[in-house]
Amino acid sequence: MRLLRAEMAVLGFALVVGAFASQARADFLDQAWMRGNEAHLRGDYAGAAAAYQQLDKQRVVSADLYYNLGVTYFRLGQLGRAIWAFERALVVAPDDEDARFNLTQARKLTDQRAHDKLEGAEREPLWSRVVTFFSPSTEVWLFCGLYLGCFVLLFVRRRLAEDSRLAVTTAAAVLGTTALLAGTLLLGRMNLDRIPFAIVLPDTVTVKEGADSNFRTSFEVHGGLRVRVLDHEQDWVRVRLANGLEGFVRAEDLGLL
């Protein structure tokens, strides 16, 4: 009993310390967020972008953050970066109407400047569309809820009389099976993310045949184009276009999704 009390005290202390640390971090992030918003409203778009980038470096995942970053890049005329930011907002929140609208606007504008028409571009495979049907957040909460629910029922089952166990076992089995499906979706998405997508950031990027600027130019792509990242070689990245074309671009010219 004494041991249990000590464990509870340690757990409580850890929770309190964690809560304080979490609150301090939240305050810091909110300040950077407000600084970015105020700079944007002042018309200081470079300052706003710097504040939002600081949040991005802190690994903050927020559709609002990417949305505002996208609007700021749009105002700065950096359409490739704006498209990247709106795409990221949609990765976090696929049903964000504002981000989708702004992404369309930014793409229209880039298309007027230069349009990459990919001959023979293939559609995303079915499994890829299935695992990305829900947002990562939805998949995570679905999996965690079902999985933890299943185990809670298994714990409860241990305490029940023999005749009440069947119903609880059945419910746990249903939850467990559904959790398995949600987990499969999640694993599928993680597998898909292992070969990530990226957005071309500058207005024009020359794609080389090898990982050096001295290699021959294969073709050109333009800001906002979505590519797959296959491999890294120092500060160069091997990319594949939707129609299968491949080449090397500088890593700094791509924004990972």
Binding site: V71, A93, S137, E139, L148
Partner: protein, 633 residues
């Protein structure tokens, strides 16, 4: 003398090359020559640019020297004159070097690319002599290093060679008792109408010059619309001046000013500004640091008086005027005109809503382009303009009605309304002949593609929530904690099951455990019996012996022996494998105890003592019996 000549020569050279309008210069200079082995001396590389781009700076090869400190810095010089203005970027790399060996050493050139062209400094020869033989470096004018990050007047390594010198600060006054460094917050008022400007300034008071200032916590202005105001600065750093406060002299610097506009009535607190200040020594090591914190300020925002005109925007508090104009009043069908609606004045212009555009028959009205010009002096003001693109769809005359704008005048303490004059527009031409690209629904297109409206191709506005909304699910997706969530429940369930099994097993009583338990209980009772005997209480002592034998034998036999006749007891003990002498000895001991119970006077102390010894021997003898015998019993 030689060192002085060197210094004068280098200063002259630097002055000559860094004069405004002289183009690009790239120089290096030595703090003193000769230097002693192991003595630190300064070396500086300086690049001065006029509208050029610098890249790929390569420091000199300091072979034979050790770099003990280095500090790059950048400054901009602007000069306005009759012949126009000059802007110059100056990059400086300061090094603090130590010579490792005696002799004549050479510092190789530094190189840099300016607009694609490579530039190099001259090689510099250094005479290194034995330690202590070199002439001392010139004494700086001030003991404290001037200007380092955040403070003006900086030349960290060459306080006397600073070509961009500023007046030397007067000797700092003696520090009166009770002075301390502190931050102060000064609001222009603490009670205001909703939407009325309150100017808040954060100030720093120092007892002596510091080298670094770094804000660690910005004040939060929840409940207010905040606009940053300009504060005086000195070459990008803080502007320090002397100020007397409560009879004491301080170095004073305004840190930050904000114009706050209360959004809703109520009491709101502005959290404190917090900052760190520090002083560093010659090599940049911190010799003093301090954390400063201003006080919080509570403001009371009161509602605006009743009687607001219809269409009044609660943000329109201050003093305003309004004007409306069109770029032309005679147009052809299909040709666009621009209507500019402009509000000037003092107040929260960014937030105020301009009057809406009425519906105009025969005109297509596009979404306005809003432009705000702000002045950030003591009072926030400026202008807000809405540019409407109007496209006539048929000929005729149109009158744009007057626009009206109501606001609360804080000087008069009353509501006012300003109005524009009506505008008359004449449209000529035939709608049928004007059918073409201009009259079709405008689509997103660049201006270069010819007259289509670019205003439609805009993005939706910023999200200015007061706090950042984070997506915990997505954060968890990218975090290793998700693996923990997957592993923890089955692990916990396994541990709980294992614990349950272990507890069940530990709870079962084994033969050995039962024997140990019996032995412990017997020893305890024999000890009690001995204690009774020692105090002369014979009956309780023998009572304990009876209890110990009964309990022990009950445990061994597996059923109570208290109710057995002596014959039954003998049979039971024999069945356990006890020999006749042990059986008789046991029965005799129990008889002695019975006697003591019914005739206490018949027992002598020696007999009681022997009974205790006998009981102990009996227990040991039963313990030695094979366990199978006991089990059979």
């Amino acid at each position: 003398m030689r060192a002085l000549t060197c210094l004068v020569a280098t200063s002259t050279l630097l002055f000559a090359t860094t004069a405004f309008g002289q183009g690009t210069s790239f120089t290096s200079r030595l703090g003193r020559n000769p230097v002693g082995v192991g003595e630190a001396f300064p070396f500086e590389v300086s690049l001065s640019l006029d509208n050029a781009r610098m890249e790929d700076y390569r420091p000199p090869d300091f072979r034979g020297f050790r770099i003990v400190a280095q500090q790059p810095s950048q400054s901009t010089q602007i000069q306005m004159g009759g012949g126009g203005g000059f802007m110059r970027q100056i990059y400086t790399w300061n090094y603090q070097l130590v010579a490792l060996q005696k002799g004549k050493l050479t510092i190789a050139p530094a190189s840099v690319r300016v607009d694609g062209r490579e530039m190099r400094t001259e090689k510099v020869s250094v005479t290194v002599v034995d330690s202590g033989q070199a002439q001392p470096s010139p004494q700086p004018r001030q003991q404290l290093p001037r200007g380092v990050p955040g403070f003006p007047g900086a030349n960290f390594f060459f306080p006397d060679l600073d070509t961009d010198t500023e007046p030397v600060s007067p000797p700092e006054p003696a520090k009166p008792a009770g002075r301390r460094n502190f931050l102060r917050v000064v609001p222009s008022k603490t009670k205001a109408f909703a939407g009325e400007q309150i100017t808040v300034e954060w100030q720093m008071y120092l007892t002596e010059r510091q080298n670094n200032y770094a804000p660690t916590k910005e004040p939060r202005t929840d409940g207010f619309w905040a606009e940053e105001l300009e504060v005086p600065q000195n070459r990008g750093g803080l502007s320090l001046s002397e100020q007397v406060l409560e009879g004491r002299v301080y170095l004073f610097a305004p840190l930050m000013r904000k114009a706050l506009f209360g959004l809703n009535p109520g009491k709101y607190t502005i959290t404190p500004l917090e900052a760190d200040i520090s002083r560093v020594d010659f090599f940049g090591a911190t010799v003093h640091s301090e954390h400063l914190k201003a006080d919080p300020v509570t403001m009371e925002i009161v509602p605006l008086p009743a009687g607001a005109p219809a269409g009044f925007d609660p943000s329109a508090v201050g003093k305003f005027s309004m004007a409306a104009e069109v770029d032309r009043d005679h147009v052809q069908v299909g040709e666009a005109i621009t209507l500019k609606l402009r509000v000037d004045g003092q107040g929260n212009l960014r937030k105020i809503a301009l009057p809406g555009m009425p519906r105009l028959d025969g005109w297509k009205v596009y979404e306005p382009k809003i432009n705000v010009q702000m002045n950030r002096g003591d009072v926030v003001g400026g202008s807000k303009t809405a540019e409407y693109l109007l496209l006539p769809e048929r000929s005729g005359q149109t009158t744009l009605p007057a626009f009206s704008f109501s606001y609360f005048d804080t000087h008069k303490g009353a509501y006012s309304t300003v109005k524009t004059e009506p505008l008359h527009l004449v449209v000529t031409g035939e709608a049928a002949t004007a059918q073409g690209p201009h009259t079709t629904t405008p689509v997103a297109a660049p201006a270069a593609s010819g007259g289509e409206n670019l205003l439609t191709l805009d993005v939706r506005p910023l999200r200015s929530r007061p706090s950042l909304r984070r997506d915990l699910g997505s954060a968890l997706y990218h975090s290793p904690a998700l693996l923990g969530v997957a592993i923890a429940p089955p692990l916990l369930l396994g541990l709980v099951s294992l614990f349950g099994v272990a507890r069940t097993r530990l709870g079962q009583e084994t033969e050995g455990k039962r024997r140990r338990k019996l032995r412990r209980s017997a020893n305890r009772r024999l000890h009690t019996a001995t204690a009774h005997l020692r105090e002369g209480r014979l009956a309780p002592s023998l009572g304990e012996i009876e209890r110990v034998l009964s309990e022990f034998l009950t445990g061994k036999v597996g059923r109570p022996v208290a109710g057995m006749s002596r014959e039954e007891l003998r049979a039971a003990l024999a069945s356990m494998g006890a020999g006749p002498s042990l059986t008789e000895s046991t029965v005799t001991a129990l008889d002695t105890c019975d006697r003591a119970r019914f005739a206490p006077g018949s027992i002598h102390p020696e007999e009681a003592s022997r009974a205790i010894d006998r009981a102990s021997e009996i227990i040991e003898a039963f313990e030695r019996l094979p366990s199978s015998a006991g089990a059979q019993a």
